[in-house]
């Protein structure tokens, strides 16, 4: 695997200079790797992982997961509808699922009303959407591998040990 991609996937927050030291490359080589990953459309962009319960980050903090049932189409299956739904700015992520519904849609909006408006006015009115079931997220305990609050206490490791 691309050494820079490997470091990115570990979820640390190393600078390119630090990545260079860890991977044993020059800074220019790390940047080159990043460019190549972008060019190959493997690395799509940076996205910070935030604790949205903290006030400073709370601006756009109402999040919901919507289970959507749709009618698959001859020829395209679920793709056309899924891509159409995914294009809305309100949608953070969109997956085709196995099981009792078809699409799982993650949305994030500044207010509950805005999520409601998106579901009732945009999503459910799309032709082919049979039903929606919206679940609001109440509290986050773990975000993309990071524990919020409840992680381990700061290390009390001895400074010198045999």
């Amino acid at each position: 695997m691309n050494p820079v991609l490997k470091l990115l996937l570990e979820g640390g927050s190393l600078t390119t200079a630090q990545m260079a030291q860890v991977a044993g490359l020059s800074v220019a080589q790390v940047e080159q790797h990043l460019e190549q990953l972008k060019k190959d459309k493997i690395f799509l962009g940076w996205h910070p992982v935030l604790d949205l319960s903290r006030e400073a980050a709370a601006a756009a903090a109402v999040r919901a997961v919507i289970e959507v049932k749709v009618t698959p189409e001859r020829g395209g299956g679920f793709n056309r509808l899924a891509e159409r739904i995914a294009r809305f700015d309100e949608v953070e992520s969109c997956y085709l699922m196995s099981g009792g519904f078809d699409l799982l849609v993650f949305v994030r909006q500044p207010s509950l009303q805005k999520v409601a408006a998106f579901v009732s006015e945009r999503l459910s009115t799309i032709e082919g959407v049979l039903s929606t079931s919206t679940h609001f997220m109440l509290r986050c305990y773990k975000e993309q591998g990071f524990l919020l609050d409840g992680g381990d206490a700061p290390s009390t490791r001895l400074n010198v040990a045999p």
Binding site: L14, V22, G24, R157, V160, P162
Partner: protein, 396 residues
């Protein structure tokens, strides 16, 4: 009353661990931004599934003594693990004993096998407790030097040169704390041959074996004909990041394990049941975590060894463990002045090599079980320290 009259002569004569002085020095700098490369344990906390298993054991009321030898389920898991990873078969019923860390296992072996005056060989630089363990069991410890030119591997030649009539035991720790040195299969075969020739019993401490980065680790106990003259010592502290649980084990011929068990049953009775339950979980489902941590250590090793050599501190690449052992004499300072100066000037703690025996002179031990960010800053500071004028560096 004169307290010193009551302290046994052999205890009074034991020197304090050289690490202790340095610990005090670092402790005085509390609150300052010290980066410590002076530790001897992983920076990872024990993987959650192992901690969770211990919590579950408590919830189920597992708070009793176990068999002296340890939970049979754990001994079975140990037997399977040692067979799979080291290629040595031990019967869980009578050839495995669970102990309070490898430290206890080592102490049991010393007390079970050493008669007063028996000679015990050990390679040096080494973990601080080897020689004292022998002395506490009234044995004579014979240091066998290992050298930077051999990447601190133990050689049969050095063994032969140090051997004395009456030698009974050989203690091995490969990969080694503090040097990271280890032996190839060929080197081990020669050592094994020497042990057969001199009829030595081998205590092999394999605590860093999973943290071998280059090539595969071979245990001397796995060589043909050696299992019968080896006590295989291992534990969970390093590979599974479980130092504070204090859990280890010893495997060997049944009569020898039985002798160790005698000492264990009258002193420790058994290892903590909670730690035993956690250790069982570690063996059954912890291997993926070990591999993940090893990969991190591997990259950190490459980083720190490269930086040390760039800075001008000659450093061999340790094949295993999480210690780098660079030579610092090129700076014009001995290991003690280097470590003291570095701590005072740049607030980086490393351990002077002499704490691990005379063979460690001229070196310091730098533990790379710490985050990339910290390692990079520590290396930058060491670089600045080495570049400073000598008079500045000596200001301790």
């Amino acid at each position: 009353m004169n307290s010193s009259n009551y302290i046994a002569r052999h205890v009074a004569a034991l020197p304090k661990s050289g690490i202790r002085d340095f610990f005090e020095l670092v402790a005085k700098m509390k609150g300052q931004d010290v980066i410590s490369l002076g530790v001897g344990e992983p920076d990872f906390v024990t993987p959650w599934h192992i901690r969770e298993a211990a919590i579950y054991a408590l919830e189920k009321g597992k708070t009793y003594y176990t068999s002296n030898l340890g939970l049979i389920e754990l001994r079975r898991a140990i037997s399977t693990y040692v067979e799979q990873h080291f290629g040595i078969s031990y019967r869980p019923e009578d050839q495995v004993i669970v102990t309070v860390g490898v430290s206890e296992a080592l102490d049991l072996a010393c007390r079970a096998f050493i008669n007063p005056g028996d000679k015990v060989m050990f390679h040096q630089p080494c973990y601080v407790s080897y020689s004292p363990s022998v002395v506490l069991a009234h044995g004579d410890a014979i240091a066998v030097p290992t050298y930077a030119k051999d990447n601190f591997a133990l050689t049969a030649e050095a063994l032969r040169a140090a051997w004395q009539p009456g030698a009974k035991l050989l203690m091995l720790n490969l990969p080694c704390n503090p040097t990271g040195g280890t032996c190839s299969r060929e080197q081990l075969e020669k050592i094994a041959e020497f042990c057969r020739e001199k009829d030595l019993l081998v205590l092999t401490d394999e605590i860093y074996s999973e943290l071998t980065f280059d090539g595969t680790h071979t245990s001397i106990a796995s060589l043909p004909g050696m299992a019968e003259r080896c006590i295989f010592l291992h534990g969970f502290s390093k590979a599974f990041a479980m130092t504070g649980w204090r859990i280890g084990y010893a495997c060997g011929p049944a009569p020898l394990i039985d002798a160790m068990m005698k000492v264990h049953q009258y002193s420790m009775l058994c290892a903590s049941i909670i730690a035993q339950e956690a250790a069982l979980e570690a063996l059954l489902r912890g291997w993926d975590s070990v591999l993940k941590m090893r990969e991190q250590y591997h990259r950190r090793r490459d980083l720190i060894v490269r930086r040390f050599n760039e800075i001008g501190l000659k450093c061999h690449s340790p094949r295993g463990s999480f210690y780098a052992f660079p030579e610092v004499t090129a700076t014009g300072l001995n290991e003690k002045d280097f470590a003291t100066g570095l701590l005072a000037q740049e607030k980086v703690a490393v351990v002077p090599g002499a704490a691990f025996g005379d063979g460690g002179r001229g070196h310091v031990r730098a533990c790379f079980a710490t985050s990339y960010e910290q390692l990079i800053v520590a290396c930058d500071r060491i670089e600045r320290f080495v570049a400073a004028p000598r008079s500045e560096r000596l200001k301790g």
